[in-house]
Subunit: 493 residues, 2 copies
């Protein structure tokens, strides 16, 4: 057996274990009885231990060394798999066991402290935990990247392989002034539209039917997936032929669950478009958060909030929800394009969302560079917020304590949200250059669009780095212009 | 580490794997998307391979040998665990690999052949497969029991440890004449009551609410369990704090799902009553099918079809189902005590059920003894059926082809159904000797009854053999008198 085949064989065993663990994880979030939690944690601990042991085994490491030496005879895809395995193997083996355990312990306490600090709106309760996380993260990046690398690059690499802090900084610098202007105009224009204009009674069972019709019509395959209900919506690709979404329902507002389903179905169709034959290999796995998020944003915003989409679906919505019959399509479009300044990122609309991300990226990077001291974070957050939004959070709960990410040690994650928005606009623009896609999208027929995404994004898995994938699909790595163009057309057009 | 502790440690790892596999199995039966089937089979194959390898490892075998030699210092429960491990270890290691594989292949084909044969009502399509199964089963029992043992005893031992064909034969001989008389009288008395007397529209959501109220009221813990919908109802204990039931709904007849839930909740409360601390050890696992079925039958028939139960619940049923308001309690009781001769076992009522089992036991045993040739099975079935029920199946689909068990190689399984009925009546009678239980049951309060079952049955797991468990709980091993008394009172009283 060649070293490459040996790697595939170990990877396939790891995939059996990980997909099993993911199924238990899905069950835990959806229907598991409360009293099952303790034993479930043992099962998941056992499975992740087995998986980690296989991936970091001497056998895997040696096969990887050998395969790299023999790699001239391998295909492009096989070489890409080696590249990804090497990246992940190093991330998994370069850290001392002591550091891994300390990080796990510190973040476990930090999550509890964060919940309490947010409830009390008191940053001082969380600060010592976050300081420990920052120190350990610095130590982590020293091990992984060497002391000469910018620490933030090492962090980014975990979520978006190949991304550089300097490039992302440039993207945000390009975005920021125009985004601010755009957001202000969008918010002003929206003031005439009450946020609760469509609020009424929309029975959950009917919402479920409508969501399912729409998810099916855009191409989510229910023979290979399902939708369940959870407090925090997510999408998880469990195995070939098994991709599961969740959403939550607001009986007063059917668009809440609907846009949630469009978003998660975007993630889900990416997972359904990965090559089943490559399951367990990097070439059969999603390449980055920034590409994953591009798929959810494309279907949620570019498709799901478009005129053509609602030209088709608004009559159906009116027939399912009698209370919608008193509104016309034009009003409905104004409501779903409504923009407003808010303190909380997860509640932000399309027009203001990236400003929230810009703020986090800038502060995170400064914290890692040491140019911002942790004690000054709340003040820096508020000052930056004031400059971006023209208002100041009333307390830390609505300011620097609002997101869970830092308490989990996920530093470097936030930029993926904006990369997702930029990639979505750029991919959608590129796809629409095709006349058939452009025409069919006008008729709310998305089969040609999905086929294009399958070929240009999904089927590549991790065979190309995100920047290369974007170049191959659109002619350029991630740019700001298409997202700005989209926002201008939607909010100033 | 003592040899006994080593066994516990391996058993605990096996439990992690098996409980994980069972969770995947539950998911497959309830909500898994159709296209996930192929990979799910690989996951389950992988997990069962790992589990089997641990259980049949030299390490486990040696520890078992050593622990048996050192067993004088062990507690009664620990000795019982050794006994069960030995029994299962021998069953898992005494068979040649070739025989295991052949059995698996033959039954895999046999299941398909059985489906086709039943559809075509043509025994000849299934006969060659069943002949192979009988031959391999004979070979299996030779390996497991030695040639001098009665083969059927070896088969019984898989489902009901310690049960003997001769004893069961005696039980059926004692039952048969009285059951025949009882059944005839019950059927005659029921002829005045149309089978569809209560048929109307009972919305599924309301049935679900009613079933849940009842399951909760008898003691099924929903913080440690749930109910889902499947075509074939079942109960599965996945892990400590995690017991899941399923049922199916008939919109015309709410009693169909309700008695299904009572039955499965009986199984479920047994699983919930096993000792969490002993999970993964025989002392924390159900002891036999005949005891398991006693719990489902006790709650379904002795509790769920009793006057006291419906005295409490009939008004609630009428308030939830307006269409029930045109009937009175007396009529309702007649319907749920209705008896009728039918060709199909799974549709049989309490009064006629055991006759179906008697027939299968007698024929199975003759087949294994060689006194009945397979070619003569359909004729023997029909003759026996005529003698028991006074009617002859119109074809093999409603005769000897009706049950799936033989196609799966599950020979020796059927007697458990009747052992369950006998044990249910005997345990219920014993519990009612307690004045508090007897009084509370009259008020449809089942907490004291459940507490008694916890102490006398559930908490013992497999620490005692079924016959010893029955003796300790009721003063006698399985007898026929209590079941016959119960049927007499219900159907002739």
């Amino acid at each position: 057996m060649s070293a490459y085949s040996q790697l595939c064989s170990i990877a396939s065993e790891i995939a059996l274990i990980d997909s099993t663990a993911n199924t238990l994880g899905w069950d835990q979030e959806t229907g598991m009885p409360a009293k099952a939690l303790e034993y479930r944690a043992k099962q998941l601990g056992y499975l992740s231990g087995k998986s980690h042991a296989l991936f970091t085994s001497a056998e895997f490491g040696q096969a990887l060394d050998t395969a790299e030496k023999e790699s001239t005879s391998l295909s492009t895809k096989e070489k890409a798999n080696l590249r990804e395995w090497r990246r992940r193997y190093d991330r998994n083996t370069k850290l001392p066991q002591r550091l891994i355990e300390e990080f796990s312990e510190v973040t476990s306490h930090a999550k509890h402290a964060w919940v309490e600090a947010r409830q009390a709106a008191d940053f001082s309760l969380f600060a010592p935990h976050l300081q420990k996380i920052l120190d350990l993260t610095q130590e982590k990046t020293d091990h992984l990247g060497g002391k000469q690398a910018e620490a933030y690059d090492v962090l980014l690499d975990e979520f978006d392989p190949g991304a550089k802090a300097a490039d992302i900084s440039q993207l945000f610098e390009g975005l920021r002034p125009q985004l601010s202007t755009l957001a202000r105009a969008a918010v002003e224009r929206s003031q005439a539209i009450p946020a609760d204009l469509l609020h009424d009674h929309y029975p959950i069972a009917v919402q479920q039917q409508f969501n399912r019709e729409i998810a099916e019509s855009i191409g989510f395959d229910f023979a290979a997936g399902r939708i369940d209900t959870t407090a925090h919506p997510f999408c998880t690709g469990l195995a070939p032929g098994d991709v599961r979404l969740t959403t939550r329902y607001d009986e007063r507002d059917f668009t809440s669950s609907l846009f949630g389903v469009l978003h998660e179905a975007g993630h889900g169709m990416y997972e359904q478009g990965l090559l089943d034959a490559d399951f367990g290999l990097p070439s059969g796995a999603a390449v980055s958060l920034g590409i994953h998020e591009s798929q959810s944003r494309l279907w949620e915003n570019h498709v799901g909030r478009s005129e053509a989409f609602w030209h088709k679906w608004f009559p159906r919505a009116q027939s399912l929800f009698p209370s919608l019959r008193k509104h016309d399509l034009a009003t409905f479009m104004k409501v779903i394009h409504r923009a407003e300044y808010s303190f909380i990122r997860v509640e932000a609309d399309e027009a203001t969302y990236d400003l929230h991300v810009a703020l986090r990226f800038s502060l995170e990077r400064q914290l890692m560079q040491g140019s911002l001291k942790l004690a000054d974070l709340p003040e820096a957050w508020n000052a930056e917020f004031q400059s971006l939004f023209g208002m100041t959070p009333p307390d830390a709960a609505q300011g620097c304590l609002q997101d869970i990410h830092w308490s989990m040690g996920a530093i470097g994650y936030f930029p993926s949200y904006t990369l997702g928005n930029l990639n979505a606009a750029q991919l959608y623009h590129a796809a629409l250059q095709n006349a058939e896609i452009s025409a069919s999208v006008q008729e709310a027929n998305y089969a040609p669009l999905l086929a294009w995404l399958r070929t240009h994004v999904h089927e590549h898995g991790s065979s190309m780095l995100p920047a290369d994938l974007m170049k191959a699909a659109t002619g350029s790595s991630t740019e700001t212009q298409w997202h700005l163009k989209h926002l201008r057309e939607r909010f100033l057009g």
